[in-house]
């Protein structure tokens, strides 16, 4: 039972990671690529680590995995926001108010 849940979680995480990669390759410009990568990476990593924690049970390893997931869930949107702000400010400074990129 636990094994089946672990496999389902790992496969789901893998699916979202692959979707993020395909989005990174296929989408046309910088901001839309950010849409794909930040969402899919956050949920994909959460699902993979949930699967590993289910496999490991209630141990210190699970606590460490939870700590890493908490950290990534806070930092991944923040890092994306910092990059997006840098790109947006640079575009504004160059005078190109192209809001529909």
């Amino acid at each position: 039972m636990v094994t089946a849940l672990t496999i389902i979680c790992l496969l789901g995480g893998l699916f979202f990671f692959v979707v993020g990669t395909v989005g990174l390759i296929r989408l046309p410009d910088t901001f839309t690529r950010m849409h794909a990568t930040t969402k899919c990476d956050t949920l994909g990593l959460g699902l993979v680590f949930l699967g590993l924690a289910l496999h490991s049970g209630l141990t210190f390893s699970s606590a460490k995995l939870g700590l890493v997931v908490l950290f990534i869930w806070i930092t991944n949107p923040t890092a994306t926001h910092v990059i997006a702000k840098a790109v947006y400010d640079t575009q504004q400074q160059q005078g190109g108010v192209d809001t529909d990129v």
Binding site: M34, H35, A36, T38, K39, C40, F60, H81, Y88
Partner: protein, 162 residues
């Protein structure tokens, strides 16, 4: 009060990292936590915690549940867009007001929540509005944002007049 919270979180981090509850490890961890907390006293972030009252913290659970549900919806939306053949996107930049929120911590977490909800990405935070990049159309994201703002206001204890 703030220093005690900091000290307790450091001690919990020590226990998780050292993977044991032997009393010698706990003693060393306690000493290290106190020393580190005292040395870093000057660098602690000024969070005005007086708005976050204990009865309002119940809303954190609601916010987390809604956030996880939104993340799953957003991922399936991205998957549908990316894996379809012609990619139906219509990107645009819009500005959204952030309501009566005041505390920077709330604004930061609201910005992160906007990034993780379907079809939106926070570009910039100004004094009282967010600049948001939308993937498709803005109607759906607007409704979601209002819901989020309301929940964060409840967390801060602001009375809504509606």
């Amino acid at each position: 009060m703030r220093i005690i919270t900091y000290l307790l979180s450091l001690f919990g981090f020590w226990i998780i990292i050292s993977e044991t509850t032997h009393w010698q490890h706990l003693l060393v961890g306690g000493i290290v936590a106190v020393v580190v907390a005292l040395l870093n006293r000057a660098y602690m972030i000024e969070i005005s915690m007086h708005r976050y009252q204990l009865k309002n913290l119940v809303w954190i659970v609601t916010i987390l549940g809604k956030l996880i549900r939104d993340m799953v919806v957003a991922n399936f939306q991205v998957a549908r867009i990316v894996l379809s053949r012609e990619m139906p996107i219509n990107p645009q930049v819009i500005t959204l007001g952030c309501g009566p929120l005041e505390i920077p911590v709330s604004k930061t977490f609201l910005a992160n929540a906007i990034t993780l909800t379907p079809g939106t990405l926070t570009l910039d935070i100004t004094e009282n509005s967010f600049i948001v990049h939308c993937l498709c159309e803005e109607s759906a994201s607007n409704i979601l944002l209002d819901d989020h703002v309301e929940k964060f206001c409840r967390l801060e204890g602001i009375e809504l007049d509606e």
